[in-house]
Amino acid sequence: MTIDDSLLMAYADGELDPIAAKRVEQAMANDPALERRVADHRALRDRMARAFSPIAEEPVPDRLAALLTNTVVVLPPRRPRVSPWWPAGAVAAGLALSLGLAAPWRQSPGSADHAGGALGEALDTRLAAMDGDPRVLVSFRNQQGAYCRVFAGSARDGIACRDGEGWRLVRTTPGSHAAGTDYRQAASGDAALLNAAQAMMAGDPLDAAGEIRARQRGWR
């Protein structure tokens, strides 16, 4: 039988059945060149495995691991506003009242604007686990069912909600994060933003999969 290189390779990798392996061993015994070639295949295999092994041993970057851990930002505990089994109408009425009375951060009517440029793009595309400026801290649906996203950046922080025209800026404050800082370490200024988000939120914040789905649907 002829011994070609793919047979030697398969022998070196332990992929041959016992009979085929025996044939290769017999051929190798009569031909040192074949033996050297098998040694080369083994050495290459070891070298490739060794060269890449440090990557599997180093810690996984946060931005990747964060995609798989549900809460990127720990939200403040939800205030016991209404019992979940109350009729929906009463819930809505109660929320409308509490939003109207207890929302000092809300801008006066008419000054509401829509996000454009880099902010608009970030809100459209960036997931909460991703680095960037601005960074999105958390995404959720508000009581009206629209998607909202809390962002923090070097220029400004805020909450934007999706409407027919784009990302309506519901709240903005001067940026609390200098460029280059680790946004994942929530700054103290984030607490007020997150409390505001908590008050607007219906249900739980989106997890990574929920964000990806929402993004695919264009946040509609």
Binding site: M9, E15, L44, A56, A65
Partner: protein, 183 residues
């Protein structure tokens, strides 16, 4: 003897659903280091590798309904990663491959001589890998870097065994020729 109370079916079913969801993410987290290594071995450098890995995780999360608990998640993820890489390859124009990965030359810092050697070796191996045609590179990555059996690698790539082995042997011959010279 009285009948035993039936188990609390509803709450245990809820727990099972919760456990399934958690298991998906936990299993994915567990294989993430290997997935990163695989993505890296397909890519040109560390940044490209992690970008590819991120795309693969997003695709997996999005397709989590298609994963069957109890089946091998690593094979499923290798396939998703590889397909994402192929998609990227079709979209991007290939830059000249005569580069030295950035991390080989910078940020050596306090690393010992051993760590520096390891980085240079990785850079050299990666450059040799980058010169292989895609179909050879993916075969080499799965078998030599990830240690998959031929049968497993053929299944990930969805090709017959004969196709896998012929790509693998051509890839190895090219690597032996190149890295033999460089050594």
């Amino acid at each position: 003897m009285g009948m035993k109370r039936p188990p609390a079916c509803v709450s245990s079913a809820r727990r099972d659903i919760g456990a399934t969801l958690a298991r998906f993410e936990d299993e994915l987290l567990e294989i993430l280091p290997r997935l990163r290594r695989f993505a890296r071995s397909l890519s040109r450098d560390a940044a490209d590798g992690d970008d590819l890995c991120q795309v693969a995780i997003e695709k997996a999360l999005n397709a989590r309904d298609q994963w069957q608990p109890g089946t091998r998640m690593d094979s499923w993820m290798y396939r998703i990663t590889r397909n994402a890489w192929i998609d990227q390859g079709r979209a991007r124009t290939r830059a000249a491959q005569t580069f030295l990965p950035e991390e080989a030359g910078v940020a050596i810092g306090d690393d010992g001589a051993h760590a520096i050697e390891a980085r240079l070796e990785l850079a050299l191996v990666q450059r040799a890998m980058a010169e292989l045609p895609d179909e050879q590179r993916e075969a080499v990555a799965l078998v030599l870097v990830e240690g998959l059996a031929y049968k497993e690698a053929a299944a990930v790539l969805d090709v017959p065994m004969g196709t896998l082995t012929s790509r693998l042997v051509r890839g190895r011959q090219a690597l032996l020729a190149r890295m033999g010279e460089a050594a």
